[in-house]
């Protein structure tokens, strides 16, 4: 892969639900090894953006992953291409145990290292290891969020889409979660596209960010620039 091809390139992306258009031609990229944050008010279209990228809703424009077009690709094919999507509200499989959820994350894989990967995520998220035989539905919200992330990583993705990973988590758990995400990114070079309301923490681990307003990109810049931008600070950092 030549160095100048972004991992994910989105251009002129328009998408919506039936007659309602939500995204009006947005452009952004994720380079290999980057953490990119998308900020925006409720209803700005952040979730819709991730859904359009992972093929859950029809879209127009350009979505290229490693130089190949993903537009019109079914979600399971997108997953197999190396993009793992942790949807808003998690979507853990309530009736399956923690371990079964993790194994399911490796559904598209055909190698013998699934079991050792499961053990590795238990090391990263010890709470999951303690509860490996518990039904996912009976776990706390924070534990389920960790499970959803670990399950996504079980596919050994090249890019993870995280939709509000801090939703419903206690501040301390959120901090811990972002510490782990940052560490993952630094140590393995895993790329991430993160939608997050907790802009401070998200920008802390990010390289760059975009601010989405009513389906268009209003501000873009490096994480440090966004963290000091007055408008962004007022709207998302509560300062």
């Amino acid at each position: 892969m030549s160095a100048d091809v972004p991992l994910l390139r989105v251009a002129e992306l328009s998408a919506g639900y039936g007659p309602v258009q939500v995204l009006h031609g947005i452009d952004f990229t994720v380079e290999p090894g980057e953490v990119v944050v998308i900020l925006g008010a409720n209803g700005a279209g952040k979730t819709t953006t991730l859904r359009a990228v992972s093929g859950m809703i029809p879209a127009r424009g350009t979505v290229e992953f490693e130089g190949r077009s993903l537009l019109g690709t079914r979600p399971e094919k997108v997953a197999r291409a190396g993009i793992a999507h942790v949807p808003q509200g998690r979507g853990t499989l309530a009736e399956l145990t923690v371990e079964e959820n993790l194994r399911l994350g490796a559904f598209a894989r055909r190698d013998a290292q699934v079991a050792s990967d499961v053990e590795r995520w238990y090391e990263v998220f010890p709470r999951l290891g303690e509860r490996r035989d518990q039904q996912a539905g009976s776990m706390s919200g924070g534990e389920q969020q960790m499970l959803a992330i670990a399950r996504a990583l079980m596919s050994r993705p090249k890019l993870v889409l995280l939709d509000e990973p801090s939703l419903g988590l206690a501040p301390i758990v959120t901090q811990e979660l972002f510490r782990v995400l940052g560490e993952l990114n630094r140590e393995t070079g895993l790329s991430m596209l993160v939608v997050e309301q907790n802009a401070g923490l998200a920008l802390g681990i990010a390289t760059r960010g975009y601010v989405l307003e009513a389906g268009t990109i209003a501000v873009t810049g490096s994480a440090a620039d966004l963290a000091t931008n007055d408008d962004v600070r007022k709207a998302y950092l509560g300062i």
Binding site: M56, P87, A108, Q113, E119, E123, V124, D133
Partner: protein, 399 residues
Amino acid sequence: MSRTGETAPGVTARPAGAGGAARVPRPAGPAGRNPAWLVTSLVLSVLGAYFFVYYVPQNYAPSRVDLFTEALFVGLAATGLNILTGFNGQVSIGHGAFFGLGAYVTALMMDDRAYVEFAGREWGLGDGVPFLATLPVVAVVCLVVGALIGFPALRVKGLYLALVTLGLAVLFPDLTKRFVRGTGGTNLVGLRGADLAPPDWYDWFPDVIADPLDDYVGARDQWAYYVALVLVGLLLLAVHLIARSRFGRALIAVRDHEAAAETVGIDLARVKVSAFALSAAYAGLAGSLSVLVARQANAGRVETFQLSIEFLVALVVGGTATVFGPMIGGFLVVFFRDWIDQQQRLEDLFDSSARAKLLSPAIFGIGLIVMMFFLPDGIVGGSRRAWRRVTRRRSHPIT
């Protein structure tokens, strides 16, 4: 890829990063198999094996053995429905049609007189084919037909899917009337005693199983029962393996959360259609078994519909998404129905008014409602909860 510190999972697509991670000792999971459970299950399985393998076929009258065989095949059809409805969440009230299809294919292959009239030609499907040889054919035919119906079913869900499958149950008897030429030109394919006799090699089995005093016709009920028992055993084992397999997890994932299933790379259409096909094959094989007891294949509108409902009732009463639940449900449904029919017959001796005729379905319905009230997750689910309560109390005596 080198790694330092306590976390360092290789999450890129390079498989080389996977080896070498030190295994942490497993934290103590939930208490391992406790001895009480082991002993109980051992004793139960020995008693169960004795009862089903020896006692039932050797001691009961043929009509009663037939009743057990019927319970086995109703349970088998419910087990098939469980794959579709219990594990995959697609409700069908049309499985009586697949059951009927299996029965017809078997009967048409065994019988030398009946045929299918299609495209201006007569298709005999075989004369005097041995029963066991019809089973692979039935399995394949029902897999294919199940898949063909599974594809359009992808478009509908829930109540709408229930209605579409109901259409199957309604349509199937008409199709047989249109195309099957059985006994006397009707859609009934009747078999003769000799067709249903056990094969010669059945005599090789030890006397305890194949009773030499029985003539070949007399041994029919035992032969049918043993065939059903073996087939059910194998197909239950298959469900047990499926439930723990990659495919089994995919079935459940699709049932619980379609979007989440897709995001881990599961092909929804393929999983749903496979579930339909497999489920239809189970129901079809159950239908084949029914030929050994009923000595015919016949599809009436009422019967096909009633069977479809019975499979669903057996599934729900026994416990959805469990391995043994639907089989237990099948036994309850068949024996309960038989018991009510007997009461009805007694009643009829004294009072043949319309009131008596309504008794059976009424008792059945009320029993079902009461049962669902006390055991909403079926017999297997209910006993699991009870067992957990007992064992928990034992392990924490001071609470």
